[in-house]
């Protein structure tokens, strides 16, 4: 009795002050947060819900009229061969492209960790592709791969490969060129994330392992790679989300062709929405993407939160 009463007493007087302080704190937080939250509610969340709404309607350009069709457009997606082709291309961009980026990026990080003289300059150069406008990157590679005068075929000819495929004209090849250019532009991203993690690993671990007689290969597979894994996964998910919505690069490199072989989901949604003003249908494609992107970003953000807890 006694103890509970004292506890009760001890608690009750500051609780008013504490509550007041908490309220003031909350009000301050609201003032600080309010503008940004309000802005995002109106210009991010609302458009996102708006496009869900639009996806249930069919837009008639001539009448400029919206007609409710419910889930009809989602249903027609299921039997739309272009949609499935675009989904496959997008899956290759994410599955193959990002996997290669993770492997190459990690390999680069390990290589640069040898700290050769001049490697910091090269590291600086590797930042450059990432900031380039993807439309122009597409254009640039179209020049490099030009069948008549492009530099790539000339170089290949120099090493004796005289019959290169028509890189961007051959339907079975163009998709891989798209994946390749994305790898060229974004491997440095994985590299920089993994390299930064590598710098935070304490030297002692490696020294101890060396003392214990671990071979270099053993050290790599048993110690370094497991310690780097979370950074690689983080960079990989980040890249996967971006590769999933690839649009600009397709616009500059292939405009979705030849045939539809390089049409990604974003590009298909753009074509139907922008070129053919089928706003509803376009939105239904985009919304399928939103669902995937939301799931992936939830996975990613969970990892970020965990990491921030660790840091505290």
């Amino acid at each position: 009795m006694m103890t509970s009463a004292t506890i009760g007493e001890r608690r009750s007087p500051p609780s008013v002050v504490a509550r007041l302080r908490r309220w003031i704190g909350r009000r301050d937080a609201l003032v600080l947060l309010g503008p940004a939250l309000g802005y995002l509610l109106v210009f991010s969340l609302f458009p996102l819900l708006y496009s869900l709404g639009i996806s249930f309607y069919e837009f008639d350009v001539i009448e400029s009229d919206w007609r409710f069709v419910g889930l009809e457009q989602y249903r027609s997606l299921l039997s739309d061969s272009v949609f499935w082709a675009a989904a496959r291309t997008t899956a290759v961009m994410v599955g193959v492209g990002v996997t290669v980026q993770c492997i190459l990026g990690t390999a680069l990080a390990l290589f640069f960790n040898l700290r050769l003289r001049g490697s910091s300059i090269v590291r600086g150069l590797l930042v450059v592709p990432m900031i380039l406008n993807p439309v122009v990157v597409g254009l640039m590679w179209r020049a490099l791969l030009n069948p008549d005068w492009g530099l790539v075929n000339w170089l290949l000819g120099g090493i004796g490969y005289d019959a290169p495929p028509n890189w961007l004209g051959d339907p079975s090849v163009a998709k891989w060129v798209l994946v390749f250019v994305d790898i060229w532009q974004w491997t440095p991203f994985v590299f920089i994330v993994v390299f930064a993690r590598l710098q935070t690993l304490p030297e002692e671990i490696f020294e101890a392992a060396a003392v214990d007689g671990a071979t270099p290969w053993g050290r790599l597979t048993q110690i370094t790679l497991p310690l780097l894994a979370s950074a690689v996964v983080f960079a990989g998910i980040f890249r996967a989300i971006d590769a999933f919505r690839t649009f600009d690069l397709v616009y500059g490199l292939t405009y979705g062709g030849p045939g539809r072989t390089t049409t990604t989901l974003s590009f298909y949604s753009f074509e139907t929405g922008f070129s053919f003003t089928r706003y509803g249908f376009s939105s239904s494609i985009a919304y399928v993407m939103v669902i995937f992107a939301a799931a992936a970003s939830m996975i990613l953000l969970k990892r970020v939160d965990i990491r921030r807890e660790d840091a505290r």
Partner: protein
Amino acid sequence: MRTRRARRVLRVGQYLLLAAIGLVGVAPIAYLLLLSSKRRIDILEVPPRLNVEWEVIRSNYADVLFERNFLDFVVNSIVVTGISVGIALVLGVPAAYAFSRYRFRGKDRWASTILSFRFMPPIAVAIPILLMVRSVGLTDTKAGLIIPYVAFSLPFVIWIMIGFFDEVPRDIDAAAALDGCGPWGTLIKILLPLVRPGIVVAAIFSSIFVWNEFLVGLYLINSEDQKTIPIAAAGLISAQRPIDWDVAATVGVVTLVPLLVASFFIQKYIVRGITAGAVK
């Protein structure tokens, strides 16, 4: 003896690999630069000759910058990027401060909702934004572009700034509070100078994004005089039709150069921005 030689061979191999990596990274850009210095007819020459003809360079760039008005598009891009990023910082920095310092209900859910906007495909909001901007009569204006660009930049700014605020010890806030600083006083007088590198990183990342933004811009801008560089460039180089390569290469270079020059100075900030959140 043999091992020493083997080691030397390995070293040479490593340096060759390093050089090759650097070359793969920048040679494509150098090639574009080279093409922009050539007459249309000379581009067909294989291998490309490395001679520099100033007269050709001058006429290519004069054609693109003045005849094709790319100087105006560069100015449009600078204006749109500057204002968008400025507004995003003004809104986003206090929000990140609140996320870093205050406890309130649903905080984590709010934070991750905001951050998840960073990952939404822009194509999903392009049509709603077009309809919204059209309904207030702002299509074909810079304001119409700036409105969605601020929304796209905010998650970047908040994400990056939360990390930088978290690194500042809370004792500093407490000391400021003892000196009678309110939350705004603490933020503006004490914390902002401390997180200035973070502000630079956030500004750079949003700038790169806005400078390169293309998809939503295509929907919103039709008239020639409001176009930003990527939109104008896309009009010339659309993969659908045959290309005048001298013009296209020059346009490409004009689009890339501002960021290339900037990246030279801001490299370390770019690396910091990429690794923010990844290696904490």
